[in-house]
């Protein structure tokens, strides 16, 4: 017997309409141009009403071929490229790459340079998390936290700019240290410029205002009943699943795993600094929000301690003018604001690396989407995607 056309079935008499009318899933193409996909992610979703039955993320709209470019660029040029991977925390991207070269060359970095790197990395973390703090409520419909969080982020970015000369893409690290700060000029070519005057005091003030905005956001967002309704119990990632999909960073910690590369790896002097690793209990959207909120506070603590501890001394180790990295390979990873960021650098000797494989946090964090979005509602999809806090530049590279 042939299948009854559902449209025809509707016009039949009551007796015949007992045939169940098929309601096929609707294919909803979300993105690449969509307000909540953080850029150019495309999701091909099958929706049954508002419930998503399956979702297929399509990435690559932002692919810029950095890994391939790295094979034809000198090491110093690649530093400029890696800034642009996760552009909301450009400085933090440089650290593992530079550390990888330093490890291959077996260089000892001066302690002052190490501390400057640490302070600026944590500033990048604050700025990245403040972007999350502003964009996440916006995705849920609250527009006001955006402006307040971005206002404070501007203070942090101004400080970053005063040292590095760039707000988003500092390109500040040099193999063996950090770049002599802006303001050198030709007459002072030989003299290495230190941090700008008053930078440390200004940073201390900025940390106070960042802590103040954290409290403000707590009052406006964290305790908000409607925010709770949208996030608590939504998009739960159990610990086992989080590990299975290779989540890292705040997303992993929100699922209750106390793992932070700042405590594990020793590429920056975190061992002398006292800070806590906030973890979540349920692994839902609210926990992921809360962990990031708490990490901003911890980053402020880290910076304040680092300012107390920063020694004086040179900014740069002795490095040959033409950088040649000896043959060898290494993998260096660091705790980026978005999660674990690693570079596998293979050198055949010479000025250009043979291969640079970039392990970016957002790419792995995004891989859980098909599993976690299955069976969720369309509005929850926005809440879950926002809470994973990925940047498309970090996904596609």
């Amino acid at each position: 017997m042939t299948q009854l056309d559902p449209r025809a079935a509707m016009h039949l008499s009551d007796a015949a309409v007992s045939v169940e009318i098929e309601t096929p899933d609707m294919t909803l193409n979300i993105g690449p141009q969509h307000p909540s996909t953080h850029g150019v992610l495309r999701l091909v979703a099958k929706v049954d009403g508002e419930r998503i039955s399956s979702v297929d993320p399509v990435i690559g709209y932002m692919h810029r071929g950095y890994e391939k470019l790295a094979e034809v660029r000198t090491y110093a040029q690649i530093t400029a490229l890696v800034n642009r991977i996760d552009w909301v925390s450009g400085f933090a991207n440089e650290i593992p790459f530079i550390a990888a070269i330093e490890r291959l060359m077996d260089l000892e970095v001066p302690e002052r340079a190490q501390y400057i790197r640490l302070i600026l990395t944590e500033m990048a973390r604050i700025s990245s998390h403040l972007v999350f703090m502003s964009s996440y409520p916006l995705e849920l419909g609250a527009a006001t936290p955006l402006m307040h969080a971005l206002r404070e982020r501007e203070h942090v970015l101004e400080l970053l700019e005063s040292v590095t000369g760039g707000r988003f893409h500092p390109n500040f690290n040099r193999v063996g240290g950090v770049k002599p700060a802006a303001g050198g000029g030709s007459t002072m070519k030989k003299q290495s410029q230190d941090l700008p005057a008053g930078f440390l005091a200004a940073t201390r003030d900025a940390m106070d205002s960042v802590l103040a905005i954290c409290d403000d956001l707590d009052r406006l967002v964290t305790g908000n009943e409607l925010f709770h309704a949208r996030t608590i119990g939504v998009g739960v990632i159990p610990t086992a699943k989080a590990l299975e999909y290779g989540l890292s960073g705040p997303n992993l910690r929100a699922s209750g795993v106390k793992f932070d590369l700042r405590k594990v790896e020793n590429i920056l002097p975190y061992d002398g600094i006292d800070f806590e690793i906030p973890i979540g209990q349920n692994g839902d959207c609210f926990d992921r929000y809360f962990v990031r909120n708490e990490e901003i506070r911890q980053a402020c603590r880290i910076i304040q301690q680092a300012i107390d501890k920063i020694p004086s001394g040179p900014l740069q180790a002795k490095v040959p003018r033409i950088l040649k990295v000896p043959k060898g390979e290494t993998y260096v990873r660091a705790e980026n604001p978005k999660g674990e960021m690693g570079y596998h650098v293979i050198s055949e000797g010479g000025r250009i690396p043979y291969r640079v494989k970039i392990r970016s946090a957002s790419f792995s964090n995004l891989s859980i989407l098909p599993w976690i979005l299955e069976g969720e509602l369309v509005p929850d999809m926005v809440a879950i995607m926002g809470s994973l806090d990925f940047v498309l530049g970090d996904v596609d590279r």
């Binding site: 609707m26 909803l28 969509h34 307000p35 909540s36 508002e50 409520p137 916006l138 995705e139 849920l140 419909g141 609250a142 527009a143 006001t144 955006l146 402006m147 307040h148 206002r151 406006l220 908000n224 409607l226 925010f227 309704a229 949208r230 509602l377 369309v378 509005p379 929850d380 999809m381 926005v382």
Partner: protein, 338 residues
Amino acid sequence: MNFWLLLLIKVGLVLGVMLPGALVIIFGELKISAHMQSRIGPYFAGGRFGWAQPLADGLKFMQKEDLVPADADDRVYKLAPYVVLMGTLALFVVLPFGPETVARDLDLGIFYVLAVSSLSTLGVLMAGWSSANKYSLIGGLRAAAQLIAYELPLVLAVIGVAIMAGSLSLNDIVTAQANWQWFDTLPTWVNIIPPYMILQAVGLVIFLTASLAELSRIPFDMPIAESELTMGYLTEYSGLRFTMFFLGEYAGMVAMAAVAATLFLGGYWLPFVSDDVLNFVGPVVLLTKVMLIAFVFIWLRWTFPRLREDQLQTIAWKWLIPAGLANIVLTGFFKVVF
């Protein structure tokens, strides 16, 4: 006077109140949200305070290309914005601005208000369906679900007032509030308080919540839900038709706020002022109350995130409707006993 001339004057009056009212609220929203977000907001348009910004925006929209999707149901698509606007405009007909300043004082005033205010949702559904866009369709269906859920609490909240006043005519309801006497033992200044604001406080809260949903404003703006459905049923609209939707939204705010003010805050009534004076002062009093309620709407919008569709239904069916029913029972009890 000639019937047609009178009609023209009345239509002019309604338009004259609705359009500037909507523009003032748009401007208020721009400025208030700016202050809440530590911005300045419009500043240059019009010379001072950027007062002409809503007008400039409207002019800009009119210059934009009027785009109709190729697959759209042409006639329905083009008609939808005007249906939305018409539903809102028609609501002003029965609103009393003074004891005699009313376009048409219907005996079934509230009934008319509730019936006409649902018309604009029909327009939204038309827009969502005819756009030939999946996002628009979902937005339109959400709007329909929202209408069913929130029309009921709206009616239940109004019934309490109707029982108290003993009439469905809006003018009579205002008069009933004006004539209300609190107990003699209380001092006379108590009479300043609009009586239904206290006695029907539950109804007022239900009415305001439900009208937020009816206007689809945050926290109930799921039919638009910018971050989920791009712009919901508005996605495909541009140019003048978008302006009509935009104007309709804010005119709707004026209308719902005016109804709430009339039902619960005493409308045009001002204590210790005679009817003759109220005929002139009334519109100002009513508009002041409208602006106060509109401020609350704006305040909520820029504070809260949006709810989910199922949470909206939960609030309507599990909280607002039982509360509304309880309110009716209590009001009836109160009316019979005292």
